[in-house]
Amino acid sequence: MAKVFVYPYNSLILSDLVERLGHEPLAIMSEIRKKILTPSLDSPPLNITPEDPKIGLKYAAVEVPSGVRGRMSLLDPLIETAQAAIMVKNPNTSFGCVGCARTNELVNFLLRAKKIPFLELEYPGNEEEGKEFVFQIAQFLKSLEGEK
């Protein structure tokens, strides 16, 4: 069972397909859960401690918009432990300010630089593309089992 980073990192479809096919999806929701449920942290809204910007500094310098560093501090554990990655090209909902866009590009770059098995594809636009989408993901996840 491989740990597979999914992008968009809150994707229902990718999380479900990865889990359904026997692997562990690495999605941002698990990190949010830790922030919410960890007993030692109790300040709203996201329980950011002074340690989190320091983790973000590993990826981005101080002059970069703070949203980038904050997001990277959440995504750091996921990127570090990822053994494979599935990324959707240009998802419809990945618009936003420069901070959001730069974070997404940085995540894309970091995962490619890790030299882990990497699948890039687009969201389907019709049923035929849907079949191809699921087939490609299934083939990719099957190849991970072969590598193990």
């Binding site: 397909l17 859960r33 919410i36 809204p45 389907p124 019709n126 191809e132 699921v134 087939f135």
Partner: protein, 139 residues
């Protein structure tokens, strides 16, 4: 043990959220269930939730989709009662992916049946001469 919340999204012609809620109540598992318009949220110990999810998927393997939700139901960081209503973070992603679920379901059926999609011909860019013809002659 880790407490976890999983979101079950239903896109099925046979199953309603209430059917799943009833199944969970009938299982007598030590979990909290919140029924929503799109499915259910289940909160409990990870093992109990994972076992339940495995059983629930069998109701409609091609129409039930599961993902983790980082925040418990009723949590003030998300609850509409505290936030004054409106779309909560993550809604637009869910809304968009919900429109794709029928095709993903079709893809899962095809995968189960062993179908291999036909390789699509690579899209070629329009030739400049062709573009010129279209512009000049309206072909």
């Amino acid at each position: 043990m880790t407490q976890i919340t999983k979101m079950i999204v239903i896109h099925s012609q046979n199953i309603l959220p209430s059917d799943i809620a009833m199944k969970i109540y009938g299982s007598k598992a030590d979990v909290m269930v919140k029924e929503t318009c799109f499915g259910v949220l289940i909160t409990g110990e990870q093992e109990a939730v994972d076992n339940l999810v495995r059983e629930i998927r069998k109701l409609d393997p091609y129409g039930i989709f599961v993902k983790e939700r980082g925040i418990l139901p009723g949590n003030p960081y998300r609850c509409r009662a505290n936030r004054g209503g409106g779309a909560r973070p993550g809604f637009h992603q869910m809304e968009y992916e919900d429109s794709l679920l029928p095709w993903i379901g079709a893809g899962l059926r095809a995968l189960e049946a062993g179908e291999v999609p036909r390789p699509r011909a690579a899209r070629r860019k329009l030739d400049v001469e062709k573009l010129r013809e279209i512009a000049i002659y309206g072909m």
